[in-house]
Every structure is written in C-alpha cells, then in structure tokens.
C-alpha cells in the first residue's frame, strides 16, 4: 500500500477542525457513469443551464473547458496554446503520478474528507499554464452533481509555471431536482515565480447538500493570486478554509468572498502565511444573512519583517433570525511587519433606505439595490469579461430583504 493510502486510512475517522461532522456512510459511493462529450455544443441542456447559473457560460469564447458530471469527466480540453487541461486520472498517468504535486499542499490525513478522496479513484481537473503562456479567454470548468445522494469526490491540481498567466472560473452546482448530496473537493495550487492566477469559484448547491472543499496554495517569488469565492444559494452545511503560503519575496494574494445565506450553515475563511519579505495579502469578505448562519474566519500569519496583511469582513443581517460570526485573527511573529483587520456586523442603514425611497423605490426594491451593491465587491486582477459575468451572477440572484 502506498504511503498516501496508508496515511489516509488512519485518518478515516478524523473529524475536521471546523464545521458540523458529516456521516460519510449516509451517501452513495457508486456513481452512474456518463459518456464522454466530443463537442461543447453537446453538453446536456440541464448541465448547460446549471453551469450558466454559476457563471460558466459555455456559449462564449472559452480558453479551455473541463466538465465533470458526478464522477465522470465528460469534457477536458484546451483551446489555448501552452495551456493544458486534462482530467486528473489522465494527468497522473501522463506525468508519473504528479509526484511533486499530488497531496503536497493539502495533507492527506487532514481529516476524514481528505482521506475519503484519497482512497477512491480520482476525478477532477489538471490545469497547467506552461512557462510564459497566457490565457486570453478564461478556462471554464463545471463540477456538476446530478445524482441524488451521491458523494462526489474531486481532486484538482492547478499549476502556473514561471511567468505564466492563468484565469479560471469554476462553478460547482446541483440541478434543481437534486436536493441531497455531498461534495468533497481537494484543490492544490502551485503558482511559480512571477506567475499570475485568478481563480473564481462559484457555488450553487441544493438545500440538503454538504460541501467540504479542501484547498492548499503555494506561491513563489513575485507570484500574484486573485482568489474569489461566491456562494449565494443555500447549502445544508459548507465548510472551507483554504491555506495559502506566500513563500517567495514580493508574492501578492488577494482573497474576496461574497456570501448570501437564506438558510443553512456556511463556515468559510482562509489562512494566509506570509513567509518572505515584501509579500502582501488582503482578504475581504462581504456576508449577508437573511436567516442562515455564516461564520467567517480569517487568519493572517506574518513570519518575517516587511510584509503587509489586511483582513476585512463586513456583514449584514437582514432578518430577525440569522447569524454572522466574524473571527479575524492576526498572528505577527516578528517586528517590522504591518497587519490589520476591520470587521463590522449590522443592519442596512435607514438613511440609505430613505434616500432610495425618496426616489420612488419601495422598501423592498431599495433593500435589494443596497444589498446587491454591498455584494458587488470590486475584484482586482480579473479580466474584464469575467468581471462582467461575475456581476451578472450577483444581479441574477433574487436577493430579498428580511421583510
């Protein structure tokens, strides 16, 4: 048995640090296979629709695409020179088990979820931008959980070689008829010297879906990352806590999170470790609860002098019920660094409501306008086309006030 499998076995019963415990036994492991799709136009209508709902439009220009239905990769292709898109099983074969990358950032024995992914046949994507290559149009991927009560396991590897530029948008979603399911997604990012990555993840789950992403990010000298996470529809429980290590001088990471919870439990956050001089990181979260429970954790660790970090979490609770628990942590481990945080949880300002009502908007319309504006985070480092699509997502969703 491999070392990975051995460590995974030992961790099978290990509960996660955060988030309610999920009983893995309750979910089906056998996924119905799907056939490979030759052309993007042949993607089934319901998958296409669900993908569109999470900002993954397959109609427009695509630099590459990966689509996974349940456990089957049905599309994996690149149309950009120097950009590789493979399903992970193929990549493992092609690159001799991806020894330098596979389970190098996310510990396989982190908890029972990582262990569960490791002990089953892998599905997921392998994205690699070769040295100096650039995506003109973003890579689009959709992880589609279409089979009720399935345990969908995903393991992704993303590599931006030196001086490359990679823009990825990933939508994870269930069609409206699937209420129950589990999604465990392991993602490992390697952003090498001077490379730039924008990675945008949009989640749209069913009410009874448990979600446990596990993400590790490694950044070398002068690397930049814009990491965006958007979840506007309810999930039963969702817990994610990506960890990024800025290991080379001048690496810059920017995390943006937009959350809207009508019900359910969202426990999100990130840990960013600044390990080399002139690194900087900021993490901005906007959260709206209209009855759901949101926990936002943010941790910045400064290990050397001459680094900068800023955490920000602003939350609105628009209903009587609902909870937003903001937990910022700053861990400065030496002198000569600069770290700050800012957090606020409250309600919509009466003055803003009245201002819009004086222009003829009803209270509900005014609330919607203010909430949409609040969630419209100005995300740095995104190509214009992606920015537009993202804006559409926040405008699309029916966002209601508490009343």
């Amino acid at each position: 048995m491999s070392d990975i499998a051995e460590r995974a076995k030992k961790a099978l019963g290990k509960k996660a640090t955060y988030g309610p415990d999920v009983d893995l036994e309750k979910y089906d492991v056998e996924a119905k296979p799907h056939e490979e799709i030759q052309r993007l136009e042949e993607v089934p209508e319901d998958v296409r629709k669900a993908a569109l709902n999470v900002g993954v439009s397959l109609e427009k220009e695509v630099g590459g695409a990966y689509i996974q239905m349940d456990q089957t990769p049905v599309v994996a292709r690149s149309s950009t020179e120097g950009i590789e898109v493979l399903d992970i099983a193929t990549a493992l074969k092609k690159y001799d088990g991806l020894k330098d990358y596979w389970w190098k950032l996310v510990p396989v024995d982190q908890d029972k979820y990582t262990a569960d992914v490791a002990l089953h046949p892998p599905a997921g994507y392998f994205l690699r931008a070769k040295s100096g290559a650039k995506t003109i149009f973003p890579l689009k991927s959709c992880l589609y959980l279409g089979q009720t009560n399935l345990n969908q396991r995903v393991h992704n590897i993303i590599i931006a070689e030196e001086g490359s530029e990679l823009h990825v948008i990933t939508g994870c979603t269930t069609p409206s008829h699937v209420q129950k399911g589990l999604h465990i997604g392991v993602s490992e990012f390697f952003i090498k010297k001077g490379a730039h990555v924008s990675f945008t993840m949009i989640h749209s789950w069913g009410r009874e879906v448990d979600v446990r992403p596990r993400t590790g990010i490694y950044m070398e000298e002068g690397a930049t990352l814009s990491n965006n996470y958007i979840c506007l529809t309810p999930a039963k429980t969702l817990q994610t806590y990506p960890k990024a290590i800025l290991d080379g001088p001048g690496a810059v990471a920017s995390f943006n999170t937009v959350l809207y919870a009508k019900e359910g439990h969202l426990d999100t956050g990130s840990e960013i470790v600044l390990r080399a001089p002139r690194c900087s990181a900021d993490s901005i979260t906007r959260a709206v609860s209209v009855g759901g429970e949101i926990i936002t954790r943010g941790k910045m660790v400064g290990e050397v002098p001459d680094v900068k970090a800023h955490l920000e979490c602003v939350g609105l609770i628009l209903s009587e019920k609902g909870r937003i628990d903001s937990i910022p942590e700053l861990d400065g481990r030496c002198g000569g660094l600069d770290m700050s945080h800012e957090a606020a949880v409250g309600k919509i300002s009466e003055l803003e409501l009245e201002y819009l009502m004086a222009r003829g908007l009803t209270k509900d319309q005014a609330t919607g306008v203010i909430v949409r504006g609040f969630l419209d985070v100005e995300i740095k480092g995104l190509p214009e086309s992606l920015r537009d699509e993202l804006r559409k997502i926040t405008q699309l969703q029916e966002l209601h006030g508490g009343s």
């Binding site: 300002s349 009466e350 009245e354 201002y355 009502m357 908007l361 504006g373 419209d376």
Partner: protein, 247 residues
C-alpha cells in the same frame, strides 16, 4: 381651475425624538410657483422639507399635508415620491456598489443618465459610487441630476447653493428653472418648487415667486423674495421680522 394648490399645509406640528420642532405651519404652493424659505439655523426649514417628503423620523403630531388635493400626511415616502414629490438632500448617504448612472435609471427607467449628467457637467461621475468621496458641491450636482431624471411635480431643494462654486451655481440655477418650468410660458407651468437658501446666491440665477421667513418652527413672514432678502441682509432675521411683518 383646480380648487387645491399643488401643496397645502395646514397647522402642521412636527416632532423629532420627542422635541417639537414645527409649531403650526400653514403654507400653500400653487402650480407653477417657486417658493424660497429663509430662516436662522435650527428654525425648522429642513424639518419642513423632510416632513413633506415623508422621512419617518419626522413625526407629525397634528395638522395635515395635502398634495394635489390628497391627504398624504401618513403616506410612506416612496408613495409620495411616486405621486410627484422630489427632494434634494443636504447630506445624502454614500451607497456602496451603486453607480450614479444606475441610481439615475432607478429614479426614472426612461431617463438617459448621460443626458442629465451632461446637463450638470457631471458626466465623469457616471460610474462613480453614489456620493462616495463627493465634495459638497459635487453632491449638489449629483442630487440635481437625479431630480432632472425623476421630474417631480414638487421639487424641494435644501440649500442647493451651499459649497458650490460660482460656475456651477449657474448650472444649478438653470436646472432649478427647468425643474420648475420657468423656461416655459407661465400659463403652461404645472410644476413647483421650495428652496432653502441661507445666502441667496442662487436667487441671482433662478426665478422665485414668494419667500417665507421661518423662526422657531413657524412661518413669521411671507413676501417678495428680493425685499425679504434685503431686510435680512441689512437688519438680520429679528429685524426683518419686526419691520416687515406686523402680524
């Protein structure tokens, strides 16, 4: 002929946070008329405008407000706005993520944001978040652009000239004249205005039909705008009231 004025206020008493601020206001504004409100700080001018607009903090204790003959005393502010009442606020809040051009669209879906912004020489602010980092004068131009889109029948302006440089005062004056239809024949005018001003600079550029002086929550004097402003300038509010108003 209409029996009612566009706006009629009868014996209006208004409190804020339990303190009585307006103590028996009577005011009638006919269609096509533009009125100016003068008075020292704290006399209740802003309270009067906000009460007419329906801002909930301003509690009507007695009296009533009629607009186009309908009692609007207890109507929510958005309904009043849709009936045709518009207001330019003195210090409106910034709204995160809402662009000025989008707010103008919300004021009136048929309006062309570029056109009204151009009229206010404010086009470069179209994509800016509403009121965020705006200077005092910029806020005034933003408010006027919104009202030009909204086209209310009664336009209420709270110090439209404060913090505005001379060049832009002209622009604002022109917009006020347009909103109150001073650019059309008197017999065709159906829209009206109320303007609060401290210094009267704006009066050099707009046409005002009547002026009122407010003191301690009541209107103590009504008359010709020029005459009243002259008295206030030379004798102060107290002197003005004693001289001009035997009532």
């Amino acid at each position: 002929m209409e029996v009612f004025g566009l706006l009629e206020i009868e014996d209006l008493h208004v409190s804020i946070g339990g303190r009585m601020v307006l103590k028996g206001i009577n005011l009638k504004i006919d269609r096509g008329e533009n009125h100016a409100l003068f008075g020292p700080n704290g006399c209740g001018k802003t309270t009067l405008l906000n009460t007419i607009a329906g801002v909930p903090r301003y509690v009507v204790e007695s009296g009533r407000i009629l607009f186009k003959g309908k009692d609007i005393t207890h109507l929510p502010m958005d309904e009043r706005a849709r009936m045709g009442i518009g207001i330019a606020f003195q210090s409106p809040p910034a709204i995160r993520g809402l662009k000025l051009k989008d707010l103008i669209k919300l004021c009136n879906p048929e309006a062309k944001p570029e056109k009204v912004l151009m009229e206010m020489n404010f086009l470069e602010f179209a994509d800016r978040e509403v009121n965020r980092g705006f200077s005092g004068g910029e806020i005034k131009r933003s408010e006027m652009a919104q009202l030009l889109a909204q086209r209310p029948e009664l336009v209420m302006l709270d110090e439209p000239d404060s913090g505005v440089d001379l060049e832009n005062i002209k622009l604002i004056g022109r917009a006020i004249n347009k909103l109150t239809e001073k650019d059309t024949k008197p017999s065709k005018r159906t829209r009206s205005g109320i303007i609060i001003t401290h210094f009267g600079h704006i009066l050099d550029y707009i046409s005002v039909d009547k002026a009122h002086v407010m003191m301690e929550g009541t209107i103590v004097c009504t008359g010709s705008p020029r005459e009243i402003l002259e008295q206030i300038k030379t004798r102060g509010y107290e002197g003005c009231v004693r001289c001009l108003c035997p009532t």
